[in-house]
């Protein structure tokens, strides 16, 4: 059964790009969220195997959302979507419970390598 993914980003553009990458890697994207609040709700409802989380988002940041998701489910796997200049925020996110991170601009093979590693698939 393909691993189930929740994609969180405030830009549809980024979500589509990430979704396509996951589709190419044989994952199933089961949900999307466009802000931190929605992310926490969707995670509770969908219980995905993996969540990709943008950091800078309206209403609630990806870091706060990650913290809440981990509180909700300590085994939740959250991968932060980082960008140039966000390293310290990624560190904060990892402290908040994120499992790993990927860096924009995304290259499909890098993203899939990180994700598969985290999920222990190779």
């Amino acid at each position: 059964m393909p691993k189930r993914v929740l994609v969180v980003d405030d830009a549809i553009f980024m979500r589509n790009m990430i979704k396509d990458i996951f589709a190419s890697g044989g994952f199933e994207v089961v949900g999307e969220a466009s802000n931190g609040v929605e992310a926490v709700e969707k995670h509770k409802q969908l219980r995905p195997d993996l969540t990709t989380m943008d950091i800078v988002m309206p209403f609630k940041s990806g870091i706060d959302a990650t913290r809440e998701i981990i509180k909700q489910d300590e085994h939740a796997v959250v991968i932060m979507c980082s960008a140039l200049g966000q390293e310290s925020l990624v560190m904060e996110a990892i402290e908040a419970g994120a499992s790993d991170f990927i860096v924009k601009p995304f290259r499909a093979e890098d993203v899939l390598a990180v994700v598969k590693k985290v999920l222990g698939e190779n």
């Binding site: 405030d10 830009a11 549809i12 553009f13 980024m14 589509n16 790009m17 396509d20 990458i21 802000n35 931190g36 609040v37 929605e38 926490v40 709700e41 800078v56 988002m57 309206p58 209403f59 609630k60 706060d64 913290r67 809440e68 509180k71 979507c81 980082s82 960008a83 140039l84 200049g85 966000q86 390293e87 310290s88 925020l89 990624v90 560190m91 904060e92 990892i94 402290e95 908040a96 499992s99 790993d100 991170f101 860096v103 924009k104 601009p105 995304f106 290259r107 499909a108 093979e109 390598a113 990180v114 590693k117 985290v118 999920l119 222990g120």
Partner: protein, 641 residues
């Protein structure tokens, strides 16, 4: 494998444009109120642009957005740093980014922004040396409590040279180890890791853990971009450190749960068009039904009635999907007013209320230019210089207010300034001087009518032709644009107190109330809204002056135009008594002679496509229930050509 980005271009363009428009609005807001919330929102937009541009491979755009983001972040600490000059710089960066997006849209190459980037960097250095870099991330890695007797291991981890964020990567690795025990003797030190400084990508530390060597060796199995170089058991166990306090999760915020999807505007146009066709088809079936034998008529009529109800309901839904809040237009205005005011050395405050009122997007699309032009006039000619305002006992800050109200099936939009007001006598003189009006006629004009003279081509009371407005193309174009939308313009002004422009707009443009008239064997439609009155007169009442005829009317003599001649249709036999329609023309009222009045009908307006849209005087077409297509006329234009 590199990702093919071309299929994301459309989405990139639309989303990036939205972010940049919001960014611009935020920056203007920031100048007034550098609250933390405003800075955060600004930062978020810059950040999104950066990520999206980088993902599309638009490196120059991403680089500029990055500089912009850095600078905004600095302002976050201290809003007082946001001077006008800095505001200008940030806005020009936003403009450059928007220009990049336009280039991307057209498939043109995007040039680098070295100069702008250098300016942003220089500002950044200047400000950061004054305030110190913002401090991000205070917490330390959390650890699980130890169980059982702990042993110590010397661990060495190599981070891949290709890793883009080695500091964060080191954090991920340390977190995996910290689940096994305590980390000590960390090199490089934590503060260096935080800054991303890891010489040669080597991380070394001692791990005090009850776990066995194999478990420790397996700690990094789920982490990419790192390699465990060595794990060496050490002899002497050491005391563990105190466990740090758990990080408390923050309280939940409110949420915006409105569910929306993006839909192409062309698709909405198509829906509306198709629903219009459905409605016409229904009317056709009803007409055919009337010719059928009586026994089948009731059941057909019932079915058609139901179909009609469904189509009407669908039409309403499609129309409501096309409704867009006016804020899509007004959100850009604070920036425009700011720039206009700065260029004219005025202080102007813009207040917008009622921007949540929704209008059909066809109207909105055509509304931003007229509104912008009126605003230009307000700032340029209405609002006085600070000196003049002081002398007139007004506050130095001029005020322009836009207020929008829904009034049943119309929307009223008022743009009001507190400037010097318009000079009606001067407008009259200007119109007479231009030969647009006789001195006599000018004398008879009411104050309100005189103000409308500014909408005649070439009339302007502006003393100087400024760069911003007053170039002669202006209010006439505004009035025309509003009328094309089925709207009206009114001006009220009081010398010394200000001017109010009132725009009355329909909510939608696609349904029109038509006056159907016959000309010879043809039928044409005239928008009822444009018909001031209809009257039947015997030919003897028309005053003749050579070829030209004039109709006596309460407003004076109106020039008579034969619709058949304007259209080039052969007229039927002209009865002695015939109907005349009084309508608004470009040069005042006119009387339109037609053969017969056929009545009013609400019709779905269909816009004309090439080449018919090039024919002057045609506003659109509709199809009557009988299936007969009917052109809708734009009378002022028809007369002008």
């Amino acid at each position: 494998m590199s990702t093919d980005t071309s299929k994301y271009l459309g989405l990139f363009v639309s989303e990036a444009t939205e972010h940049l428009e919001a960014l611009t609005a935020d920056l203007v807001q920031l100048e007034k109120d550098p609250s933390r919330q405003a800075v955060e929102s600004t930062f978020r937009h810059a950040h999104s642009i950066k990520g999206m541009a980088a993902s599309m491979g638009f490196e120059a755009t991403a680089a500029l957005a990055h500089r912009l983001e850095d600078l905004i972040q600095l302002v976050q600490g201290d809003g007082s740093q946001l001077t006008r000059e800095l505001g200008d710089l940030l806005l020009s960066a936003a403009d450059a980014l928007l220009a990049d997006v336009r280039c991307a849209e057209k498939g043109e190459p995007i040039a680098t922004h070295h100069e702008l980037e250098a300016k942003l960097s220089a500002q950044w250095s200047l400000l950061s040396s004054a305030s110190g870099r913002p401090n991000l991330g205070q917490a330390t890695p959390s650890r699980l409590p130890r169980v059982g007797p702990a042993r110590r291991f010397a661990v060495r981890v190599q981070i891949a040279p290709s890793c883009q964020q080695p500091g964060a990567r080191a954090f991920v690795a340390l977190k995996r180890f910290s689940k096994l025990g305590d980390i000590l003797e960390l090199k490089p030190a934590m503060q260096d890791l935080r800054s991303g400084s890891i010489p040669d990508g080597v991380l070394s530390f001692e791990l005090e853990s009850p776990a066995d060597e194999q478990a420790i060796r397996g700690a990094l199995s789920s982490v990419a971009e790192v390699e465990l170089s060595s794990v060496v058991p050490l002899k002497k166990p050491l005391q563990g450190q105190q466990r740090p306090a758990p990080i408390s999760p923050p309280a939940a915020n409110g949420s915006d749960n409105s569910r929306t999807v993006r839909i192409k505007t062309e698709l909405l146009d198509y829906f509306l068009d198709t629903v219009g066709e459905l409605s016409l088809a229904t009317a056709q079936i009803r007409e055919i039904g009337k010719t059928l034998p009586a026994p089948v008529q009731p059941s057909l009529e019932e079915g058609v009635g139901r179909l009609h109800g469904l189509v009407k309901d669908l039409h309403d839904k499609v129309m409501s999907a096309r409704m867009t809040p006016l804020s899509t237009v007004t959100d850009r205005l604070p920036r425009a007013v700011r720039d206009l005011a700065r260029r004219r050395d005025r202080s102007v405050e813009l207040a917008v209320s009622g921007a949540e009122v929704e209008l059909d997007r066809t109207i909105l699309d055509n509304l931003s230019e007229p509104i912008l032009h009126i605003l230009r006039n307000c700032v340029d000619h209405g609002i006085e210089s600070p000196d003049e305002r002081r002398a007139a006992n007004k506050s130095e800050m001029g005020r322009v207010a836009i207020s929008v109200r829904r009034e049943r099936d119309r929307v009223s939009l008022e743009i009001e300034d507190d400037g010097r007001g318009m000079d009606a006598p001067k407008l009259k003189l200007a119109a007479v001087a231009k030969g647009l009006l006789s001195a006599d006629a000018a004398e008879r004009l009411s104050e309100k009518e005189a103000l409308m003279l500014c909408c005649l081509p070439g009339v302007s009371t502006a003393k100087d032709v400024s760069e911003i407005s007053g170039r002669g193309v202006g209010m006439d174009a505004v009035k025309r644009a509003l009328e094309e939308l089925g709207g009206t313009l009114e001006i009220h002004s009081q010398t010394g107190l200000g001017t109010r422009f009132t725009l009355q707009l329909p909510l939608t443009v696609s349904m029109v109330n038509l006056m159907l008239v016959a000309v010879g064997r043809e039928i044409v439609g005239l928008p009822v809204a444009k018909v001031l009155s209809a009257l039947e007169l015997p030919a003897s009442e028309i005053l003749k002056n050579g070829e030209a005829g004039f109709l006596p009317h309460s407003k004076g003599l109106l020039p008579v135009h034969q619709l058949s001649q304007l259209l080039g249709f052969p007229s039927g036999d002209t009865p002695t008594t015939r109907p005349y329609l009084v309508m608004e023309g470009d040069q005042g009222r006119v009387a339109l002679a037609v053969d017969r009045l056929l009545g009013q009908e609400e019709a779905v307006l269909k816009t004309l496509t090439r080449p018919l849209d090039l024919v002057p005087g045609l506003a659109g077409v509709t199809i009557l229930g009988t299936g007969r297509p009917v052109f809708i006329l734009d009378v002022p234009r028809l007369i002008a050509t």
